[in-house]
């Protein structure tokens, strides 16, 4: 292994003090027989500590391959519970795990794959208050989080701590991957210097994602983490890999460190963690408003109108005045008092089939159809619009108000909030 380059200071020394037992020699035989890895490399993997932020779509394949490969200590950060809607892509978790903490099912899965691995879990939402403490002491961080504030938080914490950030992100059929924060290379902020306006880029929950896609991208992240540990090959530092599963097109573009980067530049202005929710303009749940632009525009009909709605959301405006909104409890009260508003569900038909408020008088008008069905609505009547979590309906309400429906209101938190607060027996997704 004369060619190996120590990319993680001190790792090779830590590895030198380790031995591989008989079971490990058998388990890792196909690694050991490759001169590029060999016993020295396998001991480096055993000595390595890799932290995965998110035990979801990207974290699942990354953690499973890293564990199987013999990375000695895997850390997992997540605070979520397994949901049915996770199962088409998050292979750390099985059907029987629905409702359990993801960290519990992840730990079991990883230890079943490889009992030689030590799994450390952090059941918490990563925040500016805890991130430095959680990330400190890890050799490599694998970012598999699912939102922009956490992306910037992980990046900044990695730069401040000097930890390589193996980064991946997915959207529908497309993925991106790179390695940030290595000496001389760019960090996430060098490339994406500002977050998108709130709602301009939909989440996977809103826009959907091909279940296989995180398998592709998360596995690439695992490969990059292993190369960092082994000191082998050429990593994605300085390159952004773009994956298009629909075209099965893999291409890379050049990226470089920005000397004026506020975090890793020559004169950094961000020298401690900041408020990333505020940085990303997400003070509350309506921050996701706009994410439905893509969803609405998906339908064959009304594509222009859906895009126009999305454009309005992308302007960065909030959800509007307080009177634009209504809580699930306020809606329950209205219904109980016989003051039923026109209840409009702007989700997709498949979502309606999972759960709906039809018994309360709701009807389905998918967001993409809304502009073409305004004649079904009464300008003088109170209209309460809901979707899954409140983001598409926020867009719809903004649009309706622009079109003269001044009494349109958004059901805050959507049908998910209704299920949680009002009707615990309602199926969720």
């Amino acid at each position: 292994m004369a060619d190996a380059e120590e990319r993680i200071p001190g790792l090779f020394g830590r590895a030198a003090g380790l031995e591989l037992g008989t079971d490990e020699l058998r388990r890792y035989g196909r690694h050991l027989s490759m001169p590029e890895v060999g016993e020295e490399g396998q001991k480096r993997l055993k000595a390595a500590r890799v932290l995965l932020v998110g035990a979801g779509g990207l974290g699942s394949p990354a953690a499973m391959y890293l564990g199987a490969a013999g990375v000695g200590t895997l850390g997992l950060v997540d605070f979520d519970e397994v949901d049915f809607s996770n199962l088409h892509r998050q292979l750390l978790h099985g059907t029987a795990d629905v409702g359990r903490p993801k960290l519990d099912s992840a730990r079991e899965r990883l230890l079943d794959l490889n009992p030689e691995v030590s799994v450390e879990t952090f059941e918490t939402r990563l925040t500016s208050e805890n991130a430095l403490e959680v990330l400190d002491g890890w050799d490599v961080v694998v970012d598999g989080s699912d939102n922009f504030p956490t992306r910037y938080l992980v990046n900044d914490a990695c730069v401040l701590l000097g930890i390589p950030n193996v980064w991946g992100a997915i959207f529908r059929f497309e993925g991106q991957a790179s390695v940030f924060g290595v000496p001389g290379g760019p960090c996430y902020r060098c490339i994406f210097r500002e977050p998108p306006p709130p709602g301009a880029v939909p989440s996977c929950a809103e826009a959907g994602v091909l279940g296989i896609l995180p398998g592709l991208v998360g596995t690439i992240q695992a490969a990059e983490a292993v190369k960092l540990v082994l000191g082998l090959g050429r990593t994605l530092a300085g390159r952004l890999l773009l994956v298009d599963a629909l075209e099965m097109d893999f291409r890379e573009v050049e990226i470089a460190r920005d000397p004026e980067c506020p975090v890793c530049g020559d004169e950094p202005t961000v020298t401690e963690l900041i408020d990333y929710e505020a940085f990303c303009g997400m003070p509350g749940e309506e921050a996701a408003a706009g994410s439905a632009g893509a969803v609405g525009a998906d339908a064959a009909s009304g594509a222009e109108a859906g895009a126009a709605i999305g454009g309005a959301g992308a302007s960065g405006d909030g959800a509007g005045e307080t009177s634009d909104r209504i809580t699930v409890w306020q809606l329950r009260e209205k219904l109980d008092d016989g003051e039923a508003p026109d209840l409009v569900d702007v989700r997709e038909p498949f979502e309606w089939r999972i759960c709906n408020l039809e018994e309360e008088g709701a009807r389905l008008v998918p967001l993409s159809q809304l502009p073409g069905r305004l004649d079904e609505l009464d300008e003088d009547r109170e209209i309460v619009v809901y979707c899954h979590t409140g983001s598409r309906s926020a867009l719809a309400v903004r649009y309706l108000r622009q079109e003269g429906f001044g009494r349109a209101r958004n059901l805050m938190g959507g049908i998910a909030a209704w299920a949680e607060e009002i009707d615990p027996d309602m199926p969720t997704y």
Partner: protein, 96 residues
């Protein structure tokens, strides 16, 4: 900027997150002498796309990267284009 018949014909590649704002198109062909002009041409065709590409001051938004031939464009306004160039838009995505 005035468009001339001599302006190079280029292809702008649109990622999935921007396609809903461009009638679902994966790419668009425009005639433009610079990257900035190419993006403005796109925004003229698709107003919603313009909102996603440009901020209120008319600058390309900080979460949208532009690459020509695999090389990142720092200043779209001054980046000249040649006949047949491929302009690739790469906005940030966060799904995991």
């Amino acid at each position: 900027m005035e468009e001339t018949a001599a302006a190079p014909r280029v292809t702008v590649k649109l990622p999935a997150s921007l396609r809903p704002h461009a009638e679902g198109r994966q790419e668009a062909r425009v005639e433009a002498s610079s990257v900035g002009e190419a993006l403005r041409r796109l925004a003229e065709r698709h107003a919603a796309l313009g909102t996603h590409l440009f901020d209120d001051a008319g600058r390309v938004r900080g979460h949208v990267n532009v690459f020509v031939g695999g090389r990142r464009v720092d200043d779209p306004a001054s980046e000249a284009l040649g006949e047949g160039d491929e302009v690739r838009l790469v906005p940030s995505i966060a799904g995991g």
